[in-house]
């Protein structure tokens, strides 16, 4: 399998988008659709994190392949058909690991940047 990276015009660290998507799904008890996730990310980060919205969709597919999210069609707020994503137990576990990893990396980076 060849990994294809699509260019993300974003300030995101590589690989973090998927973690953010998982986190969004964890925070919201309800299943979310792609547009909802993008809205949520923008709101929570206060427009700091610039995500090319389209790139959400390959990320969601990747998560679906891994079995970390589950997709189901449902009705949107305005009664349109939309695909809703839900975190699976595997996804929850994965998120926990990734967050822990990320924090460790971040700590390390911070300790380099701010010498005691």
């Amino acid at each position: 399998m060849r990994k294809t990276n699509i260019p993300l015009k974003t300030e995101l660290l590589p690989g973090t988008l998927e973690m953010l998507v998982l986190k969004s799904l964890e925070r919201n008890a309800q299943p979310m659709h792609g547009y909802g996730i993008s809205l949520y990310l923008k709101q929570v980060s206060g427009d700091v994190l610039q995500v090319e919205e389209g790139s959400l969709y390959p990320a969601l597919q990747r998560l679906a392949i891994k079995g970390w999210v589950k997709a189901e069609w449902g009705q949107s707020e305005n009664n349109r058909r939309a695909r809703f994503y839900k975190l699976t137990p595997d996804g929850r576990k994965q998120l926990k690991e990734e967050v822990a990893n990320f924090e460790r990396t971040l700590d390390a980076i911070l300790s380099v940047l701010q010498p005691a």
Binding site: H33, Y35, G54, S55, I65, G67, S76, A82, R83
Partner: protein, 895 residues
């Protein structure tokens, strides 16, 4: 692990619902865009601006869609499928190339798979017995006689003693034949007298009825038989009521107790032992209940099989037997100075022993052929790599990886390999069927006519191997060629092309070397075959008819009657018009080889049997009617032939026996001397004549001394009538047959063949090797010529411009011809010289197959060289001719 499988499962599902995936992703993204547009609209943008902004913020929708799809798809597989499709398209476009390549490879694969089917059946496939690896046949060697006798078949009391000593897993069989009468025409049936446990020993139980009881191994109780499935069907219409009823063998009723399994494999002919002539068809088994006479005599005529304990080493088993044997032998013959050696041979050797070398030889020949085919295809590919340089360069320039281009090439050759593998398998299925019918006896016995799975796998593996193998050099060449050269003007004359031409020449050289080796080997085999066929056997081969007869039953119960029968018959036959001479012999030298009775020959002054028996020669004893020598055409060296009137014990002996007994004497001085046969107490036999040695039909067996006794003095029931005719012997076959029937319709004619047919049958293995090897060599020659032709004409094409230029500058046409010839013949010459050297080496290892010629036989090797040179020269001629015809004006505008 489990998660991984789940992932693949999800991805597989994706394949099934691909369209739905596309639709849903599209819908999902459209939903997003719409929501976004709505949001932008709310921010006060116009409808069009809102839509545009939403698209901009979203990114490249098509790319995103593709990327998402790629996430799911099995990319590398799809790429493979793509390459395959492309390869198929290319191959379809170049039909000529594809056809030639596929057929070439298919021939190679078909030949190999055919031969492998025989090799597998004879050498590799487990024999149809239970635990066949534990079964060995037992041979006995008299150390002092090893040279002449080799390994002997055991005697009946050997078998009985071994069995008594506790070797319970042991079976015995000895050749037997009977006249079967009643329920139709009298016929001679072949079979064996066997120990009661034979069927259970082999692990192939009788399918109807029962096999024998141990108590039936006693004279008087042994009139029970098991018959073969084929006899049961052929003669009795598979009547189940036959079991328990009587059939008449040699005039005596026998109870049929069982029908053997149709798949029972037993040795026929001389497979089990070269001195144990079993019939070609084994139809009847009878318990071996040795008569007192048999128990008393020295008959080395038992085929004894032993089953070793699981895991027991052969040598250990041999030693056990040896110690038992030594013990009883010393008790039985205390003054015998020698210990007979026990030898064990795996049962597979019974069926494959004689054929192994020949089969491997032919397999070697067919693999050479396959190599040549591979070289040929590699050459074709190389030429195409150079001519497709432009295509490759464009593909590389457009972003294809070099490896992908090379992969593409390997891909194409694998497609060709798969196609040729399929065609090769079809060829092999015909070939195997032909072998199963016309091949050597062992192949016919063991090979089914259907290809086994193993053979199909074999052809699949070799075809893939051949595909990859033949694309290696072209692929490497394509890799090195890369992008740079292809796009330039006149790419054909570039460095890459030159290098590629050098490779082509090397390949032609290799092809020629392999082809020469193959051709030379088959030349040596052919010359040997001619030598064998023309060898002086000591009897006429042309215009001789031979019929095997066995008078038996009430009318021929004593020797007198049998002798009378043959005397009258030969007289009657002699009076037939067209008959030159007629006689009869107990074991026809052409077919019997060294089988039949043999006895030790003693000087008339020998007195102590034990002290001299090992030093005296052993001779085959043949019983002949007086007319035999005239009919066989054997030359008299001294003395005279036998006459009807000879009363006192007399004999005609073979030249080699005379030399052996009286090395210092001339043949004339031996006439009138006397000897004893079998024992020092026997009657004195005086020598009437000395006759040239008679060799077996296959000639290459060892030569045994022979003694010919008058039929009336050494009677034999089964005799071969030998008729020397004035014309083609087959024209008299009907008359001879009628004469035999007229004398007594109840005497079955077992076989009637011309001497030429008998000799021809006895060299069947030789012919098998020769025909296949020559066939392969012929194909190899054609492939080699095609290779030379292809390379030279390609080279001429590439150099058209250069040649035109040279002609324009004044080169004579003959010069051009010479260039092309020397260009083409150089690799041929180098290759053939290497090949001839290789052939001599191969022939060294095949010494035992050669006859009457040295491995360096100049006639064979020389003619092979000439054939090769002529063929290659012919292959060069056409391109050379074309080159000489090049019109300088046209050539200079070329390209």
């Amino acid at each position: 692990m489990f998660k991984r499988i789940l992932q693949y499962w999800r991805r597989l599902l994706f394949y099934v619902r691909r369209d739905r995936f596309d639709r849903e992703l599209e819908e999902e993204m459209n939903f997003h865009l719409e929501m976004k547009a709505r949001e932008n609209l709310a921010h006060g943008l116009s409808a069009e601006e809102a839509r545009y902004a939403s698209r901009r913020q979203f990114g490249n929708q098509t790319l995103i869609h593709e990327v998402s799809r790629d996430l799911w798809a099995f990319r590398s597989w799809e790429r493979l499928a793509q390459d395959l499709r492309y390869g198929l398209r290319i191959l379809r476009k170049h039909k000529g190339f594809t056809t030639v390549a596929v057929l070439t490879l298919a021939l190679g694969i078909g030949a190999n798979a055919t031969i492998f089917s025989a090799v597998y059946a004879v050498l590799l496939k487990p024999l149809p017995y239970s635990q066949p690896d534990q079964i060995y046949s037992i041979g006995v060697v008299i150390p002092e006689r090893r040279e002449q006798l080799g390994i002997l078949a055991p005697r009946i009391h050997d078998f009985l003693e071994w069995r008594k000593a506790g070797f319970s897993e042991m079976a015995d069989m000895t050749p037997a034949e009977w006249n079967l009468t009643g329920d139709g025409e009298a016929e001679r049936v072949g079979g064996a007298r066997v120990s009661a446990n034979l069927f259970s020993f082999l692990g192939v139980p009788v399918v109807h009825g029962r096999s024998f009881f141990a108590e039936e191994e006693v004279p008087g109780k042994d009139r029970v038989i098991v018959i073969s499935d084929s006899l049961w069907r052929r003669r009795y219409g598979a009547n189940p009521k036959l079991i328990g009823s009587y059939i008449v063998l040699n005039g005596n009723p026998h109870t049929v107790v069982g029908i053997a399994s149709p798949s029972l494999l037993v040795p026929t002919g001389m497979q089990l032992h070269r001195m144990l002539p079993f019939s070609q068809r084994i139809d009847v088994w009878k318990p071996l209940a040795p008569s007192p006479r048999e128990l008393d005599g020295e008959y080395w005529n038992q085929g004894v099989l032993v089953r070793l304990k699981p895991g027991e080493h052969v040598e250990r088993g041999r030693q056990l037997l040896q110690s038992v044997h030594n013990k009883f032998n010393r008790e039985m013959v205390p003054d015998l100075k020698t210990d007979f050696l026990i030898e064990l041979a795996p049962i597979r050797e019974i069926y494959s022993g004689k054929l192994r070398l020949g089969l491997l030889l032919v397999l070697g020949a067919s693999s050479l052929l396959l190599l040549i085919a591979c070289a040929n295809i590699a050459n074709l590919f190389l030429a195409r790599v150079t001519s497709r340089a432009g295509e490759f360069a464009i593909r590389i320039a457009l972003g294809a990886g070099r490896s992908r281009v090379v992969g593409q090439l390997i891909n194409e050759s694998i497609i060709i390999a798969v196609l040729s593998g399929a065609i090769g398998a079809i060829i092999a299925s015909f070939g195997a069927r032909i072998l199963a019918v016309y091949g050597p006896e062992e192949v016919r016995l063991l090979a089914g006519s259907n290809l086994s799975l193993v053979v199909i796998l074999f052809s699949a593996v070799i075809s893939l191997g051949a595909g990859v193998f033949s694309s290696l050099i072209p692929a490497w060449q394509a890799y090195r060629q890369g992008a740079a050269t292809g796009l330039q003007e006149g790419a054909r004359m570039t460095l890459g092309a030159r290098r590629s031409r050098r490779f082509q020449r090397i390949l032609v050289g290799v092809e020629m070397a392999l082809g020469t080796a193959l051709l030379a080997s088959s030349g040596l085999l052919l010359h040997s075959f001619i030598k064998v066929m023309n060898a002086d056997r000591g009897y006429h081969i042309e215009r001789v008819l031979a019929a095997d007869l066995t008078p038996s039953g009430q009318r021929y119960s004593n020797d007198q009657q049998r002798v009378g029968y043959y005397r009258e018959l030969t007289q009657n036959i002699r009076s037939l018009p067209g008959v030159q001479a007629a006689g009869a012999i107990s074991d026809l030298p052409a077919s019997a080889g060294t089988s039949g009775a043999s006895q030790t020959i003693f000087y008339d002054n020998d007195t102590n049997f034990m002290s001299v028996v090992m030093q005296r020669p052993l001779a085959l004893i043949r019983s002949v009617t007086p007319g035999y020598f005239a009919a066989s055409g054997s030359a008299l060296r001294a003395g005279r032939f036998l006459k009807e009137e000879d009363q006192t014990p007399v004999a005609v002996i073979s030249e080699s026996l005379a030399r052996r007994l009286w090395p210092a004497e001339s043949p004339a001085n031996v006439i009138g001397r006397t000897f004893r046969q079998g024992d020092v107490t026997g009657p004195l036999i005086s020598i009437l004549g000395i006759v040239e040695d008679a060799r077996p039909g296959s000639v290459d067996q060892e030569l045994w001394p022979q003694i010919y006794r008058p039929h009336q003095q050494w009677p034999s029931g089964r005799m071969t009538l030998v008729v020397n005719t004035f014309q083609e012997p087959t024209t008299l076959a009907a008359a001879v047959r009628a004469e035999i029937k007229q004398m007594d319709p109840n005497v079955p004619i077992i076989a009637m063949r011309t001497m030429r047919e008998i000799v021809s049958a006895s060299v069947a293995e030789r012919r098998f090797q020769l025909i296949l090897t020559s066939l392969f060599a012929f194909v190899a020659l054609l492939l080699g010529a095609a290779g030379v032709y292809g390379v030279i004409s390609y080279s001429v094409n590439c150099r058209t411009r250069e040649i035109g230029l040279r002609i324009a500058l004044g080169a004579a046409r003959s010069d051009v011809m010479r260039w092309v010839f020397s260009d083409g013949m150089r690799p041929v010459l180098i290759g053939s010289v290497i090949g001839l050297g290789g052939a001599v080496l191969i022939a060294q290892t095949l010494r035992s197959v050669l006859f009457g010629i040295a491995p360096t036989d100049p006639l064979s090797l020389g003619s092979v060289g000439i054939i090769l040179l002529l063929t290659s020269a012919l292959a060069c001629y056409f391109p050379a001719h074309r080159a000489a015809r090049v019109d300088p004006m046209v050539a200079l505008r070329h390209e």
